[in-house]
């Protein structure tokens, strides 16, 4: 089984040390967060939203086979 590639943006790239990170496959976004907080404890202090297949999800959401996942800190464009 392949793992998941998580895109990260903004200040989260400082914590992850890159624009993306690879983690083992999990079933839903809550499990993903638990995994990420264990791997990158500093993430716990940061505000961010999770996007699954380019949609921001607020509730725990299943992560399907071909899901693309992104962590989005508060926006600061313009």
């Amino acid at each position: 089984m392949d793992g998941l590639t998580i895109q990260v943006f903004g200040q989260l790239t400082d914590i992850v040390g890159a624009a993306s990170c690879a983690v083992e496959r999990v079933d839903d976004t809550e499990s993903l967060k638990t995994l990420l907080f264990a791997k990158y404890p500093l993430l716990k202090q940061k505000k961010f939203m999770v996007a699954v297949n380019n949609r921001i999800v607020k509730e725990n959401t299943p992560i399907g086979e071909v899901a693309n996942i992104a962590l989005l800190p508060p926006f600061s464009g313009g």
Partner: protein, 147 residues
């Protein structure tokens, strides 16, 4: 989900005043327009703890940003009687004093052009997944926060 026409809004680097002039000039054939409203965002050389911002580096989740911009565009056109709307946002490095955002609305009468331009700017700032990294003159940085 409705099918929306996705237009690219991202330009690499600063937005040149000549580009803005070209965009204005193209509207001279649309003789039902009576008023244009334009907002330009310019990178400020803010001083933060004795260090001066020399540039902002912009990154975006481009696919999500363009999809959201298409929704905003659809909402604004549904709400205001506009002739047209153009939006451009920089990616990559934009120096202090340069233009990083260009929002341009046109309508038969000024009120719709002015109100829709302001609303579009507010929504872009609040809703587009874009991030600015403020680069100081000593090459250190901090992540920009919108207020």
């Amino acid at each position: 989900m409705k099918e929306r026409k996705i237009k690219n809004i991202f330009l690499q680097g600063a937005i040149d005043p000549g580009f803005i002039a070209g965009s204005i000039a193209k509207h001279s054939t649309k003789t039902d327009i009576g008023g244009h409203s334009i907002f330009l965002g310019q990178v400020r050389a803010d001083v933060i703890e004795d260090k001066q911002v020399s540039a902002i580096e912009y990154t975006a989740h481009e696919e999500m940003a363009l999809a959201r911009m298409a929704e905003i565009r659809e909402d604004i056109f549904a709400k205001y009687p506009l002739t047209c709307m153009h939006v451009y946002h920089s990616l990559g490095s934009v120096n202090a004093g340069e233009i990083c955002l260009f929002v341009f609305t046109s309508s038969a009468h000024r009120k719709a052009a002015i109100d829709s331009c302001e609303e579009t700017v507010e929504r872009i700032k609040a809703e587009l997944p874009v991030w600015g990294k403020e680069i100081f003159s000593d090459n250190s940085y901090q992540w920009k926060e919108n207020r």
